[in-house]
């Protein structure tokens, strides 16, 4: 992948130019789907965009005892890492890539969570600290399963290159890995039943409690980009290989939307779990399957 391709992927497709409107669209799809399942009207189509613009126009009130630089840096870092993660997704056929880009993608996907934890503690708010502690506890629980699932898929393909993963033939192990990723996505995207870190009506907005104005707008955007990256990862793993670029992009968007709807259904159907139940779920119920998946992959790989 040369510099020009890398820039085009980061800035145009599937990077910022595509990912930012897609983030607003996915946020709208999620909110609207949950609303309709709860017999509510839900937001109008442009609402996430309006929210973003409105927040950009507001001023942040002065906060004593808080480092302004850190408070501004965390959301920007979260947005750039989430946008970078979307840019790495191998949406178009033969779009390039490099050996080990899967590891970079995993790191970029994790960075917004780490930024959020740091932002909660930086804000010196009691609610922010509680939210960050919850996010950290949840992070060490679901990330083990998430990483094991992706590593098992990568090991079955003998490659850490995303393009190789996107063009793999479906097998039982890969399906198991994709299901494990899907199980981890609600926790990664902070939706029910794993919406503890930003539990509204309980700890206000968790790590975001002290945020307002353009900084909050950046957090909202980072959250939307996380949606695109998370659901896009599933979409690229599931999508069949096609030669036409426009068809590949269309299939990517449709599959990502289906994943969003699936997650919205889960969010509407479940209530928030307590932190001990959430951690127990990942450590007890899903870790076994993830270990089974990776051990099967290792066995298959070293079979005579």
């Amino acid at each position: 992948m040369n510099l020009l391709t890398a820039l085009a992927r980061f800035l145009i497709f599937p990077g910022l130019l595509f990912a930012v409107p897609a983030a607003w669209f996915f946020l709208w799809v999620e909110r609207k789907a949950v609303a309709l399942m709860q017999q509510r009207v839900g937001p109008p189509f442009m609402q996430p965009f309006f929210d973003f613009v409105k927040l950009l126009g507001k001023t942040t009130p002065p906060r004593t005892g808080i480092s302004g630089f850190l408070m501004r840096a965390w959301p920007l870092l979260a947005v750039s890492s989430a946008a970078g993660a979307v840019g790495l997704l191998p949406v178009l056929p033969s779009s390039g890539g490099f050996e080990g880009d899967l590891i970079l993608l995993l790191a970029l996907l994790e960075l917004p969570s780490i930024c959020m934890i740091a932002a909660g503690f930086s804000s010196r708010s009691l609610f922010g600290e509680i939210g960050s502690a919850r996010e950290a506890a949840l992070g060490v629980s679901y990330n083990i399963v998430f990483l094991l699932a992706i590593v098992s898929i990568a090991a079955s393909q003998h490659s850490f290159r995303l393009e190789a993963l996107a063009s793999m033939h479906p097998s039982f192990l890969t399906v198991l890995g994709i299901v494990a990723i899907l199980v981890c996505l609600p926790a990664k995207l902070h939706i029910n039943p794993f919406s503890l870190p930003n539990a509204e009506q309980e700890i206000y907005a968790g790590p975001m409690t002290e945020y307002a104005g353009p900084e909050l707008a950046m957090w909202e955007l980072a959250h939307g980009l996380e949606w695109v990256a998370g659901t896009g990862l599933v979409a690229t793993l599931v999508a069949p290989q096609v030669s036409a670029a426009w068809l590949a992009a269309f299939i990517f968007v449709v599959l990502a939307c289906v994943t969003v709807l699936l997650l919205s259904g889960l969010a509407a159907a479940t209530a928030r779990l307590a932190i001990d139940s959430s951690v127990r779920f990942y450590w007890q119920a899903t870790l076994i399957f993830a270990i089974l998946a990776i051990s099967s992959v290792i066995l298959v790989r070293f079979r005579p």
Binding site: L36, M37, Q38
Partner: protein, 160 residues
């Protein structure tokens, strides 16, 4: 799987949210502002004693009494209406400070602005109808007649 069925039905039914300016109708057992009928009130002040939020005030005067009600303080528990033996109090249906049936809900800026006061002329209590008994004395008959005559007096005066 009950929740999935419910969600599917919700999706099929569509949203139930009323869009502005449509407003939901009040329920059948809705308790509104307390309505006072001065013609029926005997001034026993039971409503004042039953009112835990002190929305009802009662001042006894010479030959009259003042009954006042402050809707801003009322919790609409309905205990005053329950306790009124003369049925002088009843619960309003549509006229409610928080009711959305009114086009413009009342806006008040000062405490007690919605208070309503009635000054009612006190009337003597209605006599109990005496049961006819064969062992009645002439004196008892005379008392009953006097009572009936006395009872007729406030009927002409009435409550103001």
């Amino acid at each position: 799987m009950n929740i999935l069925t419910m969600m599917w039905q919700n999706l099929r039914r569509g949203y139930q949210t009323l869009l502005f300016p449509a407003r939901p109708a009040v329920t059948r057992r809705f308790r509104g502002l307390v309505q006072f009928d001065p013609a029926l009130c005997t001034g026993c002040a039971v409503c004042r004693f039953r009112c835990t939020s002190r929305a009802i005030e009662f001042k006894a005067g010479k030959g009259e009494f003042t009954w006042s009600y402050n809707p801003g303080q009322c919790t609409f528990c309905g205990r005053c209406v329950e306790g009124c033996a003369e049925h002088a109090l009843k619960e309003g249906r549509a006229k409610h400070a928080l009711s959305q049936q009114e086009d413009t809900p009342p806006v008040y800026l000062a405490q007690g602005e919605l208070r309503k006061s009635y000054t009612v002329a006190r009337r003597p209590p209605m006599p109990k109808p005496s049961a006819p008994s064969p062992a009645k004395t002439a004196g008892a008959d005379a008392c009953a007649t006097a009572g009936l005559e006395a009872g007729a007096t406030p009927a002409t005066g009435g409550a103001q």
